[in-house]
């Protein structure tokens, strides 16, 4: 345990030394901080309507103005970050866990199972993400859970394929052969010996996947097919701003900039993490 902690410390130090990585760390830190302490940061209740002060431009009282129902945009931006992470984190970790398991089974199990799982991955990947999302939403209706499900389903193949490739390369390495000759069970080999060697690469992938997920949630909410109103989401802000773009353009800016910022932050962090954890990956892309 002690060893892994110092390893983690070294990774963080490595990321912080890289200027882009540091920037990513700071941006992600701010977003996570705002999401956790949203309830204390927001100056107004993000869903409280105040018809008297509707569609007001940015001012000292309302930093980013108000929307068509008089809700404070700044408060909704902060609370929107919470919603974005609430969708992104479970979806990414869920997809990673499932993809990892399936990928390791594909890489280590019998050939027919490998072929079957690869066909499964290829099939999911053959749907253009947004089209798949729209089809699912059309069938089961929009909600936060639907978004999480769609994101999980569409990103499982990415994790699965990487986990499979890693497992295949490790499969014939000496320490695995030694373990197998001593009669270790499959679950022990996969869980104790393979997993620690694969998880780092997948964690990097997950960090780089978070912005895609945030953008997809915002996109679906923008189309009115994501989280339901009055939940504050960056996409919902964009939707309100778009329908009244001449009257309340600050909503478009307030919803759009956090998405770009979050994407930048997680991308910088992910790329820097990749270089620190596994420099070889850089060439593969």
């Amino acid at each position: 345990m002690e060893k892994s902690r110092s390893e983690l410390g070294q990774i963080i130090i490595g990321v912080a030394r890289d200027p882009l990585g540091l920037m990513g760390l700071i941006i992600v830190g701010i977003i996570v901080f705002c999401a956790i302490f949203a309830a204390w940061i927001v100056p107004y209740d993000p869903i409280a309507m105040d018809i008297k002060s509707r569609m007001q431009g940015p001012s000292a009282a309302h930093l980013l103005g108000t929307d068509q129902l008089g809700r404070d945009t700044f408060s909704r931006v902060i609370a929107g970050g919470q919603v974005a992470l609430k969708v992104a984190l479970p979806a990414v970790f869920g997809a990673m866990a499932i993809g990892l398991t399936l990928g390791m089974i594909a890489g280590y199990g019998p050939k027919w199972l490998d072929n079957l799982l690869m066909l499964f991955f290829d099939t999911i990947r053959s749907f253009p993400t947004v089209m798949f999302a729209l089809a699912v939403v059309a069938l089961v209706g929009p909600s936060l859970q639907t978004v999480v499900f769609v994101v999980m389903a569409t990103s499982i193949p990415t994790y699965g394929r990487v986990a499979r490739t890693q497992t295949l390369t490790l499969r014939n390495s000496e320490f695995i052969l030694a373990e197998r000759s001593m009669g270790a069970s499959m679950s022990r080999i996969l869980g104790v010996h393979m997993l620690p060697n694969i998880i780092g690469v997948l964690a990097v992938l997950a960090a780089m996947d978070i912005p895609t997920v945030i953008a997809l949630e915002a996109g679906l909410s923008f189309l009115g097919l994501g989280v339901k109103p009055p939940t504050p989401s960056w996409g919902a802000l964009l939707k309100d701003g778009y329908s009244l773009i001449r009257q309340t353009p600050w909503l478009v800016v307030g919803g759009g900039l956090p998405i770009i910022l979050a994407t930048l932050g997680f991308t910088f962090l992910g790329e820097s993490l990749r270089d620190v954890v596994d420099p070889k990956l850089r060439k593969q892309r």
Partner: protein, 312 residues
């Protein structure tokens, strides 16, 4: 090569078959009667029975699937619930608008990306190389629909340089209507392609045929443009083929933001009116488009680089 092509397209067909079947079963597995959902709560029982029969929903599921595939092979994607028109006609009427948009986006972003990447590789570690790298990283991060909205706000609503709505009539007007959506979709690709071309250029520049060309005293400009770049842009072909799914997804959003006709707008409008046959038809066509373009990219790659043929 022929062997590889057959295998690759066989795999694509299999994937498409599984994908379509899964989608078909998914629609049937949804709780609730699709007919009731389509017609709303006030529909009479006679009307419901009529539509159920018209959609073939009174048949057992395996028979429905067979009929569906039978129709599909004849190019029949079903009938629009409301207008009674053929879904195939409706989808293929909208498809050119989406393809036009995707093509325009690829065209400008790939040209600029290749130029930037080639220049950066020919002058590594100069100021321009660094600026190009910084721009690449920042633009990769921008989701197309956010860029589309900001572009709409700045260039169409505020500055009024470009039209905000529609696809336009006549060549120049259509081109004018394409500028902002194509800009939004292509922006993140410029940086991505530039990085890709730069990396593969640097690799190619060290190869022997480039060294030989230099040794023959051919002008450096010609070496870069003709001998190195020609090979270095190969990965771009693959990336665009595989990126078709992203491009389609971005196009959906761009069409909504700029109120353009196209597949994306068709799907969204059909979802709000619960017009399942059209949703299904559009998703199917776009999936087919994606699968075919991925396979084509693999084929082109295999044609140009024999090593790729054994990768699958």
């Amino acid at each position: 090569m022929l062997n590889f092509a057959t295998r690759r397209f066989g795999l694509s067909l299999l994937i498409l078959f599984v994908a379509v079947t899964v989608m078909f079963l998914m629609i049937r597995a949804v709780p609730g009667d699709p007919v009731q959902i389509m017609l709303g709560p006030r529909a009479t029982p006679e009307l419901q029975a009529q539509l159920t029969a018209a959609l073939g929903l009174d048949q057992p599921i395996w028979k429905q699937l067979l009929i569906f595939y039978g129709n599909l092979l004849q190019g029949d994607l079903g009938t629009d619930v409301f207008s009674g028109r053929s879904v195939t006609d409706i989808v293929f009427q909208q498809l050119p608008f989406t393809l036009e948009l995707i093509f325009a986006s690829i065209l400008w972003s790939a040209s600029l990306g290749i130029a930037l990447g080639a220049y950066a590789a020919a002058h590594p570690n100069t100021l321009i190389d660094r600026i190009a790298a910084a721009i690449s990283v920042s633009f990769v991060a921008a989701p197309a629909f956010v860029v589309a909205l900001l572009a709409l706000l700045i260039f169409a609503v505020h500055l009024q340089w470009f039209p905000a709505i529609g696809a336009g009539e006549g060549f120049w007007d259509r081109l004018n209507h394409l500028v902002l959506p194509a800009f939004a979709i292509g922006l993140s690709w410029v940086g991505y392609i530039a990085r890709l071309v730069r990396a593969s250029m640097l690799e190619v520049m060290g190869e022997s045929h480039v060294r030989t060309a230099r040794a023959f005293g051919i002008a450096e400009r010609r070496v870069v443009m003709v001998y190195a770049l020609r090979i270095a842009i190969l990965p771009v072909v693959t990336v665009i083929g595989v990126g078709m799914g992203f491009l389609l997804s971005s196009a959906v959003f761009a069409e909504i933001v700029f109120a353009r006709p196209g597949l994306g707008k068709l799907v969204i409008d059909s979802i709000t009116t619960r017009n399942y046959p059209i949703v299904m038809g559009s998703v199917l066509i776009s999936t087919a488009l994606f699968v075919v373009s991925t396979a084509l990219a693999d084929l082109i790659n295999a044609l140009l680089d024999p090593r790729a043929r054994t990768a699958h």
